[in-house]
């Protein structure tokens, strides 16, 4: 019985999808897999949509919105195929780490450069920010200069590999923006970093 009902709902929805004039709103999961929640308000009432894979169907602003109905992934894909194909890749961020007191990348971070280049190419990105940071070993002025040197060295690595310098915005925060809080004059590897954001 349940299965027949379910089938009926799905076929009705398929009809709506193919030829109906009804408006359709489908909740999709967030990046972490959890569902968000929204409220649709019109002259016919208010409905909360808070389960991924569920939809509401509404004739128009004056019409009462439907209760939540199931919609299959296959149908969602079919209905939204064109828009899904046009969906841009989400911005991506990377952390590069440095040897103590230098602008030399750690061996592990050196390997990340290829991953960053791939991210830039996949997005055809012209909006790359490179932000330098240091730990709190050494004085403030020294660290401000070092964080800029670090950011510049990362920019130069990217430019050497074919990224246009115009697409890269440089900035440096010295020791003022640590990932891990420490007392002054403490060396902390996690704070000796450059953040690269590819949008």
């Amino acid at each position: 019985m349940n299965r027949i009902c379910c089938f009926a709902v799905v076929s009705m929805l398929a009809l709506v999808g193919c030829s109906g004039k009804e408006n359709l709103i489908v909740l999709t999961p967030n990046a972490g897999g959890t569902a968000g929640a929204m409220e649709l308000t019109n002259e016919g009432g208010v409905v909360t949509l808070d389960q991924a894979g569920k939809a509401i169907i509404v004739k128009g602003r004056q019409a009462k919105p439907s209760n939540l109905v199931d919609i299959s992934d296959a149908e969602t894909r079919a209905l939204f195929q064109d828009a899904l194909n046009a969906q841009p890749l989400a911005p991506q961020s990377f952390l590069l780490y440095f040897e103590f007191g230098t602008e030399n990348l750690t061996a592990e971070s050196t390997q990340l450069i290829d991953v960053i280049l791939q991210s830039i190419h996949e997005r055809d990105s012209r909006d790359i920010s490179v932000v330098g940071h240091t730990d709190r070993a050494g004085d403030y002025e020294y660290n401000l200069a070092l964080s800029l040197t670090r950011a510049k060295s990362v920019r130069d690595l990217l430019v050497e590999r074919g990224v246009a310098a115009d697409f890269i915005q440089l900035s440096s925060h010295g020791e003022g923006n640590p990932l891990v809080s420490t007392a002054d004059n403490i060396a902390e590897a996690k704070n000796r970093r450059v953040e690269v954001m590819v949008r």
Binding site: G17, G20, K21, E22, N23, L24, I25, V26, L27, T28, P29, N30, A31, G32, A35, G36, A37, M38, E39, L40, T41, N42, E43, G44, T48, L49, D50, I56, V58, G60, R61, P65, T76, L79, F80, Q81, D82, A83, L84, N85, A86, Q87, P88, A90, P91, Q92, S93, L95, R123, D124, R126, D127, S129, V131, S171, H173, N177, E195, M197, R199
Partner: protein
């Protein structure tokens, strides 16, 4: 779990350091198009291409074979299928001043919406006007919607 949180913190830091959005600043960029896509701006229709900036009060319009993908400055991702119209009515992403607003008018067509920082930091600041009614966010939310209109 750790990685997304890290990415989020970095985006937030980046956002705090970025300048606040005055009206002349762009609010997003076209990331990809296919077919005929236009931007209606100050009464004129101009063709839309990848990397073009979009501004407050722009209306994006796709033709019968047109699709477009958009990245707003708070990292909201929006894409539209053919025969769609979207107006960018309000945008203010100024975390340093604790000021947020995102209001879009989905007039017709198919839309894929992936929430950005605005949806994370201030979901209540997100409002979407649609032919079905007004959508308001209760938390960070992704969705797809279809508004067939009268074509």
């Amino acid at each position: 779990m750790k990685k997304p949180v890290m990415g989020f913190l970095m985006l937030l830091l980046w956002a705090l350091c970025a300048p606040s959005w005055a009206e002349v600043q762009h609010i997003g960029k076209v990331k990809g198009t296919n077919g005929i896509v236009s931007i209606q701006r100050a009464g004129k229709m101009i063709p839309a291409f990848p990397h073009m900036k979009v501004y407050l009060n722009d209306m994006l319009v796709t033709g019968s074979d047109g699709v477009i993908g958009l990245l707003l400055e708070d990292n909201t991702l929006l894409s539209m299928g053919p025969m769609s119209r979207l107006a960018l009515d309000k945008f203010d992403f100024s975390p340093a001043q604790n000021r947020y607003a995102l209001q879009l008018r989905m007039e017709q067509g198919t839309f894929v919406y992936l929430s950005g920082l605005m949806g994370k930091l201030a979901p209540y600041a997100v409002k979407l006007d649609t032919p079905a009614g007004t959508i308001s966010m209760l938390k960070e939310t992704n969705f797809m919607a279809r508004f067939p209109g009268d074509e």
